[in-house]
C-alpha cells in the first residue's frame, strides 16, 4: 500500500528566507505531484514530476524528485507573503493519487 509522509506539517517562515518541504513515499510511484490550496479553495496544480532527477521551477518554488530515495522536495526561495497556503504532495499509482498530510505554510514579515 502506497503511503505518503510530508514534513513539516507546519512551517512558519520569515520573508526573504529559504525553506524546504519534504515528501517521502513508501513504494514505487508513477508520478509525484505538488498542489497548493488556499483557505476555502480547491487545489491548484504546481508541479508534476515524472522521472528520477526531475527538477521543475516556477517563480520562487522549485520541486525535485529522487525516485531511488522515494523523496521529493519543494524548495522555497526568498519567501514572500503570497506563498502562504497549504501545500500537498501526492504520489500516483495507477492513476490514483495518495496525498500527504499537507504543510501549512505561513510567511511572516
Amino acid at each position: 500500500e502506497l503511503k505518503v509522509e510530508q514534513n513539516p506539517l507546519f512551517l512558519s517562515m520569515q520573508e526573504g528566507k529559504n525553506y524546504t518541504i519534504y515528501c517521502n513515499y513508501s513504494t514505487t510511484s508513477d508520478r509525484l505531484y505538488w498542489y497548493r490550496q488556499d483557505p476555502g479553495k480547491s487545489l491548484e496544480s504546481l508541479f508534476v514530476l515524472l522521472s528520477n532527477g526531475a527538477v521543475k521551477q516556477e517563480g520562487r518554488l522549485m520541486a525535485s524528485l529522487d525516485t531511488k530515495a522515494r523523496l521529493s522536495t519543494l524548495h522555497i526561495t526568498a519567501a514572500v507573503h503570497d506563498l502562504s497556503a497549504t501545500y500537498f504532495c501526492a504520489a500516483e499509482y495507477g492513476n490514483k493519487l495518495v496525498f500527504g498530510a499537507g504543510t501549512i505554510l505561513r510567511v511572516k514579515s
Binding site: 498542489y35 480547491s42 496544480s45 508534476v48 500516483e92 492513476n95 490514483k96 493519487l97 496525498f99 498530510a101
Partner: protein, 115 residues
C-alpha cells in the same frame, strides 16, 4: 487544461437525508475521481468513475453509501446517502489529463455540513 464545475458549491443537510453532487468537465475525459477532504485534513480518494463501467471504490468506501454515476465522458455524480455529521467534508471531483502531458485537475469542491 480542464475546467471543472461542481454543484452545489455548499449545502447544509439534515441527518438521514441524501445529497447528490454533480461534476461537469469542459472536455471528454476517461477517468474521473471523487475525493473527500475532512475538516483540516488531507484528501482521500473515494472512488474512480469510468464511463461505461461500475465505479471502483477504495477501502473504507462502499457503493451503498456513495453511489456514483458516470453517464458520459464529461459528467459524473456522487451521492452521499443516509448522511450523518461524520460525512461533513469537502467533496472534490478530479480528472486525469496526464495522458495529454498535463496533470490531474480538481474541481472547486462541494462543502457539505450535516446537522
Amino acid at each position: 487544461s480542464a475546467v471543472i464545475s461542481q454543484k452545489p458549491s455548499r449545502d447544509i443537510c439534515q441527518r438521514g437525508t441524501s445529497l447528490t453532487i454533480q461534476c461537469q468537465v469542459d472536455s471528454q475525459v476517461t477517468m474521473m475521481f471523487w475525493y473527500r477532504q475532512q475538516p483540516g485534513q488531507s484528501l482521500t480518494l473515494i472512488a474512480t468513475a469510468n464511463q461505461g463501467s461500475e465505479a471502483t471504490y477504495e477501502s473504507g468506501f462502499v457503493i451503498d453509501k456513495f453511489p456514483i454515476s458516470r453517464p458520459n465522458l464529461t459528467f459524473s455524480t456522487l451521492t452521499v446517502s443516509n448522511m450523518s455529521p461524520e460525512d461533513s467534508s469537502i467533496y472534490l471531483c478530479s480528472v486525469d489529463m496526464v495522458a495529454l502531458g498535463d496533470t490531474q485537475y480538481f474541481g472547486p469542491g462541494t462543502r457539505l455540513t450535516v446537522l
